[in-house]
Symmetry: C2
Subunit: 203 residues, 2 copies
C-alpha cells in the first residue's frame, strides 16, 4: 500500500539527547532503522563493528569515495566518517524509515542528493537545560563548556530551516514525536499513489 521507505536525517546540538531518542525509537519500531556510519578511526571501548560503526581502513574508505559509494563523508581529526549508500538504499527498498544521525553540514549534503529527505532537529527544552546537560556529563573547564555552547548556538540557528523540531524535554514524549512525524509521512498522498490507482481503476 505504501510506495516505498523514507529517508530521515536527525540533527541537534550536543546536549539535545538525540542519540538517546533514536536508541529508544528503534527499540519500539521495527519499521525504523538507523544507518550505521563508516569510519577509519580506531574502534574503542568495546564498540562493535557493524553496530556502532563500520570500522575500515583508510584505503578502503577512499576506494568507496572514488567508487561513488558514499552518500556523504567528512574528515575530523585526521579520520574519515561517512554514510555508505548501499545499506541505506536496501533499507529504503524494503519500505523502512531510515534515519541518519548527522550534523548540520551532513544533513545539507543529503538534502542535495535526496530532495525528499525529512529533516528533524532535536532541541533541548531551554538554554538552561542545555547548559546543565553539557556541564553534567563531563569535567571540562569553563572555557571548553563555553566553546560547546557557542557551537550549539550556531547549530540551533539552522533549526528553523529544518522540516520538524522535536523538543527533548521528556524522553518518552520526544520519541513519540518522532514516531508521529514518521506516521504522518506515511499518510502523504505522494506515498500512496499505488493504493489510489488501485481504488480508482476498480470503480
Amino acid at each position: 500500500m505504501i510506495d516505498k521507505g523514507m529517508l530521515i536525517t536527525v540533527s541537534g546540538p550536543s546536549g539535545s539527547g538525540k542519540g538517546t531518542v533514536l536508541g529508544e525509537l528503534v527499540k519500539k519500531r521495527d519499521d525504523v532503522k538507523i544507518s550505521v556510519s563508516m569510519t577509519t578511526r580506531q574502534n574503542r571501548n568495546g564498540e562493535i563493528d557493524g553496530i556502532n560503526y563500520y570500522f575500515v581502513s583508510k584505503e578502503y574508505f577512499e576506494k568507496k569515495i572514488n567508487e561513488g559509494s558514499m552518500l556523504e563523508y567528512a574528515q575530523y581529526a585526521g579520520n574519515y566518517y561517512g554514510t555508505p549508500k548501499e545499506p541505506v538504499d536496501e533499507m529504503l527498498k524494503a519500505g523502512k524509515a531510515v534515519i541518519l544521525e548527522i550534523d548540520v553540514q551532513g544533513a545539507d549534503k543529503i538534502k542535495e542528493i535526496y530532495p525528499d529527505v525529512i529533516r528533524i532537529f532535536i532541541m533541548p527544552p531551554s538554554a538552561s537545560v542545555l547548559e546543565r546537560r553539557l556541564r553534567g556529563r563531563n569535567t571540562e573547564d569553563e572555557e571548553t563548556i563555553n566553546h560547546r555552547l557557542v557551537i550549539a548556538k550556531g547549530e540551533m540557528k539552522m533549526a528553523s530551516e529544518y522540516d520538524f523540531i522535536v523538543i527533548n524535554d521528556k524522553l518518552d514524549s520526544a520519541v513519540k514525536d518522532v514516531e508521529t512525524i514518521i506516521d504522518a509521512e506515511r499518510l502523504k498522498a505522494s506515498r500512496n499513489k499505488i493504493f489510489l490507482s488501485e481504488v480508482i481503476n476498480n470503480v
Copy 2:
C-alpha cells in the same frame, strides 16, 4: 510555544465517511474546530443555526460576498453555500486546527488564499466498499448509483494532488490518522520559530 493555528481542508467522495470521521475527531480534541458553513437554503430536519449551518437570507449572503467576507462560496440548485472568513480567522488566532469540510473545487480556492493550508483527502478502503456504502444508504435506482460512482471516481482522481490521504476503513483508525497529521504539523519548524528564538537568545 506554537506560533499559531493551522487551516485544514478535508475532502473526499460521498461514501468516504468524512463527516463521521470529523464528528468523532472534534469530540476527542479540544484544539480542533470545524468551520460552520453559511447557506441560503432552508433549514431542514431540525438542523440548528450556528451548528449545522449559518442560515441566512440571499441578500445577507450577497452583502458578505461584496464585503469580501467569504473565504469561498459556490451555488448549488439556486442556493449559496460558503465559508465565512471571520470565525475561521478568530479560531486560527486562538491556535486551533480549523477544519473546512469542503469539495475538491472549494479546496483549490482555499489553497490559493492560504498557501499553507493542509489538504487531507478521505478515501474509502476499496472500490467495492465505496459501492456498498453508496448502495447501502439509499434506495436509489441503478442509474443514480452509477452516476454517483462516476462523480466519486472523478474526485478520487484529484486525491494524488492532496497533501495527505486518510483511508477510512475502520473509523477509530481514520480519526487517529487525522490526529497524527495535526500533531506532526504542530512539530513543523516553521510553526516553532518563537520557541527557537527564545532558546537561542538565552544561550
